[in-house]
Symmetry: C2
Subunit: 306 residues, 2 copies
């Protein structure tokens, strides 16, 4: 099935305890579409960059079968740039630079060839832009998934809730779930958030895995215990892209299939953090993917009866 990923395509400059990068390709739609490309060759992208954005990076996306017709290139403007520095625990970071540039006036245009798309992934962007995308699709997709950030809860809670009301799956981290719901218990938070609209909620807990809530059902996917987390940038977007990519591939939005999708998303994210930026997720072999999935399954596998 076809999948549209909307989000940022950007430059990141990253500093971790292990080293630092110059400007490299980043952004929620970059990670999301690359991750999804492992599951379907019908990934379409809507985003905006300036004309400073390297053609080679666009070709990289295209080489993964990603349709870039919806990637706007603004002449004379600069691409969105974010720079951050991770602390030693890799769970917290300081933002050093945020230059919105082209993102300030981003008006998402849906190419005619994208209409009728079956799955929609709304990567982190302003909730108004995310909502505009939904409104500009002639046909409601089978499933809309949305990612967001505490930033929008701080400055645009009303608009955020309006957009959340329109989606099927919301993906946020534990601190964001608490902020959005006002509840400390994640079980209570999940109930409140699902009352806001989404039938399904994914709460990401970083190195502590992810919870998938759907009505009264809950599934837990562990994170793989890793020797080293090299760079967590984009892990959440990679997770989301892997999740919805797997749903689009299988065209099955049942709870049981979403469980598998969470494992695939977690597996993709476990690759993402092994190297800087997109370096690791642009070349995952089939064997590596299969091996990784089995490690996730083995991690919680019990043999025999209780």
């Amino acid at each position: 099935m076809s999948l549209l990923t909307v989000g940022t395509v950007a430059f990141d400059a990253i500093e971790t305890p292990f080293g630092k990068t110059d400007k490299i390709i980043g952004g929620s739609a970059t990670y999301g579409s690359l991750a999804a490309s492992y599951f379907t060759d019908q990934v379409k992208l809507v985003a905006v960059v300036g004309d400073d954005f390297p053609k080679a990076d666009i070709r990289l996306l295209e080489s993964h079968g990603i349709d870039t017709e919806g990637l706007q290139i603004k002449a004379g403007e600069k691409s969105f740039f974010w720079s951050g520095k991770y602390h030693i625990d890799m769970n917290s970071r300081d933002t050093l630079v945020t230059e919105l540039n082209v993102l300030e006036s981003f008006d998402p245009v849906i190419p005619d060839s994208y209409q009728g798309v079956e799955y929609l992934m709304l990567g982190n962007l302003s909730p108004q832009v995310q909502k505009a995308v939904i409104e500009r699709l002639d046909q409601k997709p089978k499933l809309i998934m949305m990612d967001t950030m505490n930033f929008w809860m701080d400055i645009a809670m009303k608009e955020l809730k309006e957009t959340i009301a329109l989606v099927d799956v919301l993906s946020i981290n534990d601190a964001e779930a608490r902020q959005l719901s006002g509840e400390y218990s994640l079980v209570k938070a999940a109930k409140k958030i699902m009352e806001m609209g989404p039938k399904t909620l994914i709460i990401k807990k970083g190195e502590n895995g992810a919870l998938l809530f759907n009505g009264d059902s809950v599934f837990f996917a562990p994170a793989l215990p890793l020797e080293e987390v090299f760079d967590p940038t984009g892990a959440g977007d990679t997770f989301a892209g892997g999740f919805i990519g797997y749903l689009a591939k299988t065209d099955d939005t049942s709870f049981n299939n979403m469980k598998k999708a969470v494992i695939y998303g977690s597996a993709l994210a476990s690759f993402a953090v092994e190297k800087f930026g997109t370096e690791r997720i642009i070349k995952i072999s089939d064997d590596e993917m299969e091996d990784r999935i089995h490690r996730f399954i083995d991690l919680v596998q019990l043999e025999g009866k209780f």
Copy 2:
């Protein structure tokens, strides 16, 4: 199989956002032996209290089939007392009062009738006392499990490592694993700690579950997402008691059986936090236990092939 639990039997006074208690029964050996009593009727206890300790609380332990011959009652002395206040997140707490009392001069005596015990649980105590218990057993048990705390890492690291070298299973939390090993990555921490002696390491992560390491194998047991954590006091000791109780019941120390033991320990701990102190774990019905175990299994259960 028979199981000896050594640790504290004490008074706790607990304050949480949900309420507070007067002095109630607590201590690592109390929680550990009560949890283990669900699996074997051959639980033996070594601990010390003052003569201020209520006979009714000792009878409570005995009513669970726990042999209290090894419980020393010191005439004219007072029982160990701890008082603490939990923060709203329930993951951190302030110690308000610590009165060592009888614990200051605790010299563990092993009754003759305990000799030949097959499983040994060393609850949190000074590492010197833990070591003395091992030395005073005529026969090495089939399996020795040990729990400890950051407190001993701060003041008695050398003695702690000497005791750790003698045990088969060490159970500590994530912060303690990092402190003990000097490694942030839990995978690296686990390797270093297993080189100190224990073949098996359990890293407890509270509401984020527990990791079981054994050689190159790793197993992850989630914690059950709960609506409310009422009082986390004793959850770790309850986990340990459930874990080793299940091993003693099945008399199987294979890695696969330890995985199941981690699930049983986690299930017991999930009961423990539902009420103050030992209130919940003194009366768990068979049906409740079975239901809880199934919730743990369902939480990570996937149907069908990948």
